[in-house]
Symmetry: C2
Subunit: 80 residues, 2 copies
């Protein structure tokens, strides 16, 4: 996975999760330093509908497997 | 919410999430310092079945609303 490509893709995520991985909303989780496999699973589950959240479903739907791996690599690499 | 009561209840959580909120398994998320409302929602969603995970469903089912609030208060209070 390519954390640098993940950082570029994270422009879509930053309004809620920050480019620093720190939540910008009362209900959004911090992502910085989170377990990489957990982040990838969360995005996959939102994409397939196994996990439901209106906003996250919309954001995850267009992501490729590579996007998901790169985003998980990027956010897990940040200091918590 | 009572973080001290949450710490006592977290004895059930520590094998995977630690009493320090740091994941002890490759697929379990860190909880330390996570957004309190997010943690409470996760437990509620596992309890109701809105969010699915075999282990977490089993763990969340018997929790009361107070247990959930206390656990969220405890884990969100820990340094990430």
């Amino acid at each position: 996975a390519d954390a640098k490509a993940g950082r570029a893709k994270a422009m879509q995520c930053q309004a809620c999760h920050g480019l620093d991985g720190k939540s910008k909303l009362p209900e959004a989780p911090h992502l910085a330093g989170q377990v990489e496999a957990y982040l990838a699973k969360a995005l996959k589950d939102y994409k397939t509908g196994a996990r439901k959240d209106e906003m996250m479903t919309m954001m995850a739907k267009p992501l490729s497997d590579a996007d998901i791996a790169n985003l998980a690599a990027f956010y897990s690499s940040l200091p918590p």
